[in-house]
Symmetry: C2
Subunit: 357 residues, 2 copies
């Protein structure tokens, strides 16, 4: 019933704890012979390392870098809080987290910033806003032996270890199902969003269309012009469309900016009959939901994404752990009027960091 320790393994294998430590953590300085023997004995005894003792005994610190945009939005503020929380709990493991931030979410800017990062300074990196442009940078880090994980936005063509974030296609499907159910399967809807480069928007768009095509043939999708990440543009674009097609009764927004724009537009036109399904929880969207301008929100839980990315990266560095699949999906929450307050409650922040929802 008692725990198996290095000492017990050393005794049974007829060697010293130094050698056992070297063998189990594949450090060099062990002969193939004794390494095999130690591994065998450890397996027999069912050895499970004591993480606490390991953290306590570790001399040098682990440095990880967290790269994500520096924008004054709730979204990045939440991600930031996630890394703060990660640092708080991981510092006991001898982990330091350095934030690498850049002014916009433009992949070009991100890339310029990442170019300056020397892989030798870090034992691991967590990178957001990993548009196609950043693949080369990610691969540069990996080639230098520094593992990279992506969060929130993936870079599937890079050699990143894994991705932590939402399943964008699925959240598009969810948006479509909600809207379709609210409309009893028929009506005229439109999609607002930034269709340029960032993949999550494209994937959500794809998921939405996929659902409508397969499950809601009586819903007609009106094309809506590109609106980048500008609420003003989104609002104007939607207002124009409604002027042309007054019987629009549903709007799906693929991101926060377009959601904000759409809500502004329906409110200005006083069209409460138009069901808006959008993304992200902010003062603005919460108020709209509360007042009935918004039918439902899809919430990405950004806090959790940064936190998990950091935790798992450390686990990889320290224990060599690797997930069984390359994409780890944090689930997308559905927010309605009745469960909104539990997320907006100041206690929610407390709950989130203490209850690990």
């Amino acid at each position: 019933m008692t725990r198996v320790t290095l000492k017990m393994i050393a005794e049974k294998a007829g060697t010293s704890i130094g050698t056992v430590d070297r063998a189990l953590n594949n450090r060099d300085g062990v002969s193939g012979d004794s390494k095999a023997r130690v591994l065998q004995v450890a397996e027999e005894l069912g050895y499970r390392p004591n993480k606490f003792a390991s953290a306590l005994g570790r001399k040098k610190t682990i440095r990880i870098g967290a790269a994500y945009p520096q924008e004054p939005t709730d979204f990045y503020h939440d991600i930031d809080r996630g890394f703060d929380k990660a640092l708080e709990e991981l510092q006991y493991y001898g982990v330091e987290i350095e934030k690498i931030r850049y002014r916009t979410q433009d992949p070009e800017i991100a890339r310029a910033r990442l170019c300056q990062v020397d892989p030798a300074d870090f034992d691991g990196l967590a990178i957001n806003s990993a548009g196609a442009l950043n693949v080369s940078e990610i691969d540069r880090f990996v080639a230098a032996g520094t593992p990279v994980v992506t969060f929130n936005t993936d870079a599937p063509d890079s050699r990143r270890l894994f991705y932590v974030g939402n399943n964008s296609r699925q959240s598009g499907l969810m948006g479509a199902e909600l809207l379709s159910t609210f409309l009893h399967g028929q009506g005229n809807v439109t999609i607002l969003g930034n269709f340029s480069r960032a993949t999550p928007f494209i994937e959500r768009f794809g998921g939405f269309c996929e659902y409508v095509q397969l499950e809601a043939p009586d819903i007609h999708i009106y094309p809506c012009s590109e609106c980048l990440s500008e609420p003003g543009l989104a609002a104007k674009s939607l207002t124009d469309l409604i002027a042309r097609v007054p019987d629009i009764n549903g709007v799906f927004c693929t991101g926060y900016s377009s959601t904000a724009g759409a809500l502004q537009a329906v409110k200005a036109l006083n069209r409460r009959d138009i069901k808006v399904v959008g993304y992200d929880l902010t003062e603005r969207t919460a108020t709209a939901l509360r007042e009935g301008w918004c039918a439902a929100l899809l919430y990405q839980n950004p806090y959790r994404q940064g936190l998990q990315a950091a935790r798992l990266l450390v686990r990889h560095i320290l224990e060599g752990w690797t997930p069984p699949m390359p994409r780890l999906h944090v689930d997308t929450r559905i927010i309605l009027k009745t469960n909104l307050e539990s997320y907006m409650d100041p206690q929610y922040e407390w709950l989130q960091s203490n209850l690990e929802q």
Copy 2:
């Protein structure tokens, strides 16, 4: 930048680490004088104990008891898995978890089992199925100095430390909002459930009615007879009602059994137009959702409830930590057809224990 240790406090306070240890963990054997001095210095330096070192140095183990029904349902199986996970991660802290199980969820049976438990055997208890009858037992443990937390089902009138679980009233509101939105705010609905003793059912019922009364005045609620926790009874009860009132188009079920029964009934009657909103994720409800007999499910995440209860209880015992509010609400998830698979995926179980959703 470097961590504050007992040694540093001892030096600054002009004493030894032994005394500092005694003062900070209020063990006896320190004079009021030096205790005050140590506490003052610790405060100044911003001392945060190193949990790992503390766990490593502790000699005796912490024993906690987890009491919940032994029933062959997915629900209790999930709770069980949560405690297994808790044990796995807490064993490093020198924690043992003993499961205390009883055959049914009947509060009388639970009480009989709890009567046999000697508080002296445990450093803390986590108790489910804490109907009114169990208040006296809970208070007996607390009086004996063994802290008790409740999970899944609360016992607010007892002296339990806190509760971890869903907000039942809120989930009733959510069910009503979903159903009301699906029905465009008008129609004839009924409520199925066990209205006898267990409080969550009553609270969900209350939440549902509250919403309908305030927000959906055009929805008419038909009373439906009591159906205990018997799917067969629920099915019969609903079938009878539909025979009398054919234009029923919505059903809210307050628990798993009634959900199973309602789904069975609408399927038998081939009434796809009736929107059913129910509770809990099992093979049965998942299939119904997939095939379109069920409109939405509310998911309580039982895995998380046991896990969190255990974690927080240990935190209380070891660190004297107490939450700022007595009810810690794990959020209720909305499950639709489009996000169902991510919960049913065999990978979900893996994600759940590795991603801490």
